[in-house]
């Protein structure tokens, strides 16, 4: 086929209306999708060809650095000299011409020579996060180290207490308060910074029509839903991500059974969020009265040391209703984010719903991968949101926060929604080895799922490494669940090794997700 759009699309170079048109064609034809999958598979293979390790000779490199520094120093000297000589020279020339009877305007000439470069910082537009959050400076107890824990106490009518202990290792600042129930306006307002006004509607409306929770503006503009799991999302365009706490943890049992039967599971049948939540994590949370608590931890992503992995653990001890979780990334810190798991369309719809009711003991773990600002940009990442270029770009206020987590919920029997806000600073991220056992284990499970889904990112982490991480993060493991997982990784590694070489281009390496 000679349609170059396949390659353009696979490499993220098809944009705008051409891309939309192509996606519509793709959605109608299985054969076109198969063609695209093949091209993406080849592109992924090319992308993961071992990169050349040949560098300069160490001594040559040092000499080169010195030579470059000398050249630059000389360049700077010449520039300085020019700064002095140009005005002087011009002035001299002008004097000569003056003597010859011409006009003489030294001030203008001098001005030219000493014109200062304007380095003023652009005025930042301040975005009001939400009125209920207090100024970070007014929260001295929330030191930016360690872990965050906030409890919402249903017995406390109105203002929920922040029980953050100052003695704990606290990475984030958090604040919770009783608020009005979230409205559609809230969802539209978060993430997309435009001045558009959106109609107010109540929580009940949201609950009755779960599909409507997509920010209204996005729907109107036909923008792809950014809560799509598994995709990189550019925070300049969309910085809020929502996910459901409803996860079917039986997914892991099915995958496990297939692997033990020596049948590699079909990539699309692997739902990473289900695998992650099939395990018990010993959230260090102990408070008896807390309705909801969150625990955020971040470290290096084991499959890409430039990326951060964030684990968001949510736990409930009393009953909570109408729970809705939103993670909001700070574009000044996070260039891109990816919700791990929740890839399929089914999950996408699910992920934007409220979780209607959670019954304790309840815990949920979500993982985000973040490409911090200043790190290498994704190579083959689809430029999903280019069509939203018309949106106003805004200058984020860099508070140092990487992530703000908002949990809306309603204590049983109450008419009032409560909102807990947890903030996590980039500086609290650790190197992977310093992360908690739970963090590392969850990362291993995620990597395992990515491998099984043949995600291109998983090419950067070897099966043996996943096994090693899992082995090193067993923790107390009372029922042997984690040890069993470690064996499963070894088994899957053998199966996949065979499967990939056999079916290299029969199985798509990347699940293509299309707008319906």
């Amino acid at each position: 086929m000679s349609d170059t759009r396949f390659t353009d699309y696979a490499l993220g170079e098809l944009t705008g209306s051409a891309r939309e048109k192509f996606e519509r064609e793709l959605a109608k034809s299985d054969s076109l999708q198969a063609e695209l999958n093949d091209i993406i598979a080849m592109a992924s293979e090319l992308d993961r060809l071992p990169k050349s390790a040949e560098g300069l000779d160490p001594k040559a490199r040092i000499d080169l650095l010195h030579a470059c520094a000398r050249n630059q120093a000389e360049l700077q000297r010449n520039k300085k000299l020019l700064r002095w000589f140009i005005p002087l020279g011009l002035a001299a020339a002008a004097s000569v011409t003056f003597l010859a009877g011409m006009l003489y305007r030294p001030s203008a000439v001098t001005e030219l020579g000493f014109m200062a470069r304007n380095v003023g910082a652009p005025a930042a537009l301040h975005e009001e996060p939400q009125t209920l959050e207090t100024d970070p400076a007014a929260n001295p107890e929330m030191e930016p180290t360690g872990k965050s824990k906030t409890h919402l106490d249903p017995s406390n009518d109105g203002l929920a207490q922040n029980t953050t202990s100052p003695l704990e290792d606290i990475p984030s600042r958090s604040k919770s308060k009783s608020v009005r129930c979230p409205t559609e306006h809230d969802f539209a307002e978060q993430g997309l910074i435009t001045g558009e006004s959106v109609s107010d509607s109540n929580l009940a409306f949201q609950l009755e029509t779960p599909g409507q929770a997509i920010p209204l503006k996005e729907k109107q503009k036909g923008v792809r839903n950014a809560t799509f799991g598994g995709r990189l999302v550019d925070t300049k365009i969309q910085r809020t991500s929502e996910y459901s706490l409803d996860v079917d943890s039986s997914g892991y049992a099915k995958i496990r059974a297939r692997i033990l039967a020596s049948e590699p599971p079909p990539p699309d049948s692997v739902h990473i969020e289900e695998l992650i939540n099939a395990f018990t994590y010993n959230h260090t949370e102990q408070a008896g009265s807390a309705a909801l608590s969150a625990d955020i931890e971040s470290g290096m992503a084991p499959w890409n040391e430039e990326h951060l992995l964030i684990r968001v653990g949510i736990r409930s001890q009393a009953v909570a209703e109408n729970v809705k979780v939103e993670a909001q990334f700070n574009p000044a810190q996070a260039a891109y984010f990816r919700l791990i798991g929740y890839e399929s369309q089914r999950d996408t719809e699910k992920s934007i719903r409220f979780t209607t009711k959670i019954t304790p003991p309840f815990e949920h773990t979500a993982l985000y991968e973040v490409i911090p600002v200043g790190k290498s940009q994704p190579k083959t990442a689809p430029k999903d949101f280019q069509r939203t270029q018309a949106l106003v770009e805004y200058q984020p206020v860099d508070t140092g926060d990487l992530l703000t987590l908002k949990i809306h919920h309603r204590p049983p029997g109450s008419n009032q929604c409560q909102l807990a806000v947890f903030r996590f600073e980039t500086s609290s991220a650790k190197s992977f080895n310093q992360n908690s056992v739970d963090f590392r284990f969850a990362a291993a499970v995620a990597a395992f799922g990515m491998k099984l889904r043949h995600s291109p990112d998983s090419a950067n982490i070897a099966w043996s490494k996943i096994e090693q991480i899992a082995q090193g993060s067993l923790g107390p493991d009372p029922d042997g669940q984690r040890a069993d997982f470690t064996n499963l990784v070894a088994k899957a590694s053998r199966l996949e090794g065979r499967g990939i070489s056999k079916n290299l281009f029969k199985t798509p390496f990347l699940a293509i997700q299309l707008i319906p």
Binding site: E45, S52, E54, D57, L65, C68, K379, G497, I500
Partner: protein, 170 residues
Amino acid sequence: MSAENIIPLAIERFERTLISYAKEITGDIESARDAVQETFLRLSKQDLVAIEPRLAPWLFCVCRNCALDHRRKVVRFSTEALDEEHEAEEDCPAKALMATEDAERLRGLVSKLPERQRELLKLKFEGDLSYKEMGEVMKMSISNVGVQLHEAIQTLRRLWSSEHKPVSTL
């Protein structure tokens, strides 16, 4: 990035990629290294603040010119010599055997592509350049970059399926 850091950081980030790219043109590692050193020296004589926003395409463009100069000066290596060297430099980390074999086979197929397409593949998959930047480096139109890359990938797919013999399961 402040001006004094640009060159050390650029060397750290692009050294290997540029050498790999230059080697695609010169055919031998020493000329490739020379071309890359020359590239950074030329960079050091530029206004770094002005170049920094489009540093990658600038480096690849200059590196390409330097490498082409070297190739004109020195004996041209044959494709066979290239292939041998590819094998000789093989020093893969402990990866799955099958994956290594596949990578080797793919690398072999890439070496059969026309030079221009090989360069484009390097620029895309190692240099991380966009079509527009590749067009600047190779002095090609953006649409031609797309056509050539598409053709390269299609050829690789064709060669792969004609050569690929499934390994029997154990």
